[in-house]
Symmetry: C2
């Protein structure tokens, strides 16, 4: 049993931020026992770790990120999507056939992720199973929580990144078999998106999903172009989402839909029927000019929205940055599309960065009893002689902070150091 | 004579970035003598400072910033403009009557500005002349270049920030007289904006501008509300800009118009007639939901656009951040308003952050012969074994860098340390 003292903050739901100033959080076997304003008699003599005025918050989850694109962050950002993919992303991803190329990049990505307080992530890689496994193993070694996918592409893709349907399915099945017993890191099916996946591939992946009980992550209605391609290629489907439903990919595990900017009514139906999770990537969707997700409107319709860095369309780890970016974009959405746009609160964004996505990994992302103590201590955001409330410090950290403000990291109650 | 070695980069104009890899910049009496690919014979024996693969770039200029709001950065960012002003900004600014309150905030602002490579700025303060002078003196002591304004407000303002017209003019005249001989730091007239300034005040300031040969900075067509108020209060004027023209405030020195988001044809006329400078503050105008400036469109019409942090509506020093934000917003502008929106390049944004605004202060913001060597060295943005071009390193610094990447600072050729 250990007690951690500080200003403890977590989201109960998207409308409610729980704040316990100058309090103690009791941790037993890595999980939260309770939060107390003073040390209860029953814990007399327990070790107390004092973080002073530090904010103790749940560690972040990043539900959409391309680890393989970490190396190209912040390059070619003034190009538009197609040019960016063809000039930088696709040629760069092709090098991941080579373990010597992949390993240092995956190392750098994981170290940066930890430094920025992301301990749980749903990760795209490339088509290359041999190097996906390098990332997989490193995540396990660090003790992080992750869903990791080997990417599938067998259609409308550059020759050097295009698999045959057979090979794509075979490699995926081997990948699933190799990782059937993971505790924290688990495989997830990762068809890149409809425009690069044949119907046969998607159906084959759907069968694997059912056989192995594995979910799916992909890009859904991410741009007008992508949504249009989905309708063109699958004229028998009423929506981009229904393509995944019809090919059997949903309901086998978590279904994670990145971007989800241009949903139709049928997309909403599918998301509701299968408890799909939508991932808002505010910086990335600005960079590739996809448009702005109607976060508030979709939440009102019951969509479970989370946040993603979407590196390399996004440029940095640090989901706290995405909290600020989500609020900013919601204001622009309200300005340009008031009928479906409404400014969201920073508390709402923080919920989308912690508790909402944490549920994908277990009792993670909040500090209710029984939740894992995967936590960060945030400090140094106040100016001397100008004390701020915990809510204000959290907001300033999201808007103007960086990894230097993360002064301690805990993973299931164990202190985690970063490189 | 000193030679600095590195990868030297500066903007010639908005379309042209000059890049001299592995070169030497020769500095004599703090100004640029020339750039050479190897050390010329005539400089044999001169001291060489080697920055290796460091990028040597001009220091940044911030043409719109409220130094008095530094203390409130990143707080209340999910409020809308009016609530934000009334809840945070106005009450906070009222404390600047007290030197003990003002001094540490101005210290912190200046230190942070230097840390982030901004050596030239056009700065709003508050109505309080006594503490404006504290900032003024500190900027002089540091050797920075600045235009500093005592803010004027005599109308539609909270009682605790509202001056009488007489006092506002009298205090301003004393302020101008106190600072008639500055070299690097100079006074600038600073009526907050039309909604808080009476016609009598603006006309009085216009007379002072002419008498003392001093320019003006203010907020012009910054939001639909502000533009509407200007037209309501001055029905005899065809535009917000014309109000400043008619009251004699233009043509006396630099005329710096912050935001300039909703100009009419008459605003464009005024800006052209008086060589006014428009300041784009991309992060700030997103935060206070003012809309998006049509940067490319206005440049094509001949408007000289520069960048500003607009702290505290913006949250951070570091005009490199605004370069990235300007590109991002230009993409959203193109998405929502393709008729006047067009994606700008990162080179264009860098020009708006260096050479365009530098001209307000002298031969500053570029490295052509005769320009002052006010420069930064940017390093540590590359990943090991993944060399990037200078252009790519500059872009990544703007998108994903921070003050840790600024490894040296030069002010008129002298090394500047930061706190």
């Amino acid at each position: 049993m250990k007690l951690y003292h500080g200003d403890i903050v977590y989201s109960e739901n998207r409308d409610k931020l729980n704040v316990f100033e100058n309090s103690y959080i009791a941790i037993e076997n890595g999980t939260v026992e309770g939060i107390y304003s003073s040390i209860p008699e029953k814990f007399t003599g327990a070790e107390v770790i004092d973080h002073g005025r530090g904010l103790i918050i749940p560690a972040f989850s990043d539900l959409h990120v391309h680890a393989s694109q970490f190396i190209q962050r912040g390059i070619g950002m003034d190009l538009l999507l197609n040019d960016w993919l063809n000039t930088y992303t696709f040629p760069q991803e092709s090098h991941f056939a080579d373990p010597e190329y992949a390993e240092p990049i995956y190392d750098a990505y994981i170290n940066d992720m930890i430094r920025n307080g992301t301990f749980h992530a749903s990760i795209f890689t490339t088509i290359h199973r041999n190097t996906v496994n390098i990332l997989y193993k490193k995540l396990e070694e660090k003790g992080l929580w992750a869903l990791v996918g080997k990417v599938n592409m067998d259609f409308q893709s550059p020759a050097y990144l295009c698999e045959t349907t057979d090979k794509s399915l075979r490699e995926t099945e081997i990948f699933l078999e190799e990782h059937s017993s993971g505790e924290r890191v688990k495989p997830i099916l990762t068809p890149r998106f409809v425009p690069t996946c044949s119907r046969e591939l998607l159906s084959g992946l759907g069968k694997l999903g059912k056989k192995y009980g594995v979910g799916v992550q992909t890009h859904v209605v991410e741009s007008l172009w992508e949504a249009g391609e989905a309708r063109r290629l699958f004229p028998d489907c009423n929506s981009d989402s229904q393509i995944y439903e019809k090919t059997g990919l949903l309901g086998n595990g978590p279904s994670i839909f990145a971007h989800f900017i241009f949903p139709t009514e049928d997309d909403f139906r599918v998301v509701k029927d299968y408890d799909c999770i939508a991932v808002h990537c505010p910086e990335a969707t600005t960079n590739v000019i996809a448009g702005i997700m109607a976060v508030y409107h979709q939440q009102e319709l019951g969509v479970n929205i989370t946040l993603g860095s979407d590196i390399g369309a996004g440029v940095k780890n640090g989901i706290y940055r995405q909290c600020a970016a989500a609020v900013k974009l919601s204001k622009l959405k309200e300005f340009y599309e008031p009928e479906i746009g409404k400014t969201i609160t920073i508390s709402n964004a923080f919920y989308m960065a912690t508790k909402a996505p944490g549920s994908v990994f277990g009792k993670i992302g909040a500090f209710e009893p029984g939740y894992l103590f995967n936590a960060l201590v945030i400090d140094g955001v106040e100016d001397k002689n100008h004390p701020m409330t915990p809510e204000q410090r959290l907001e300033r950290f999201c808007y103007a902070g960086d990894d230097r403000n993360i002064t301690a990291r805990y993973l299931a109650g164990n202190k985690l150091s970063c490189v």
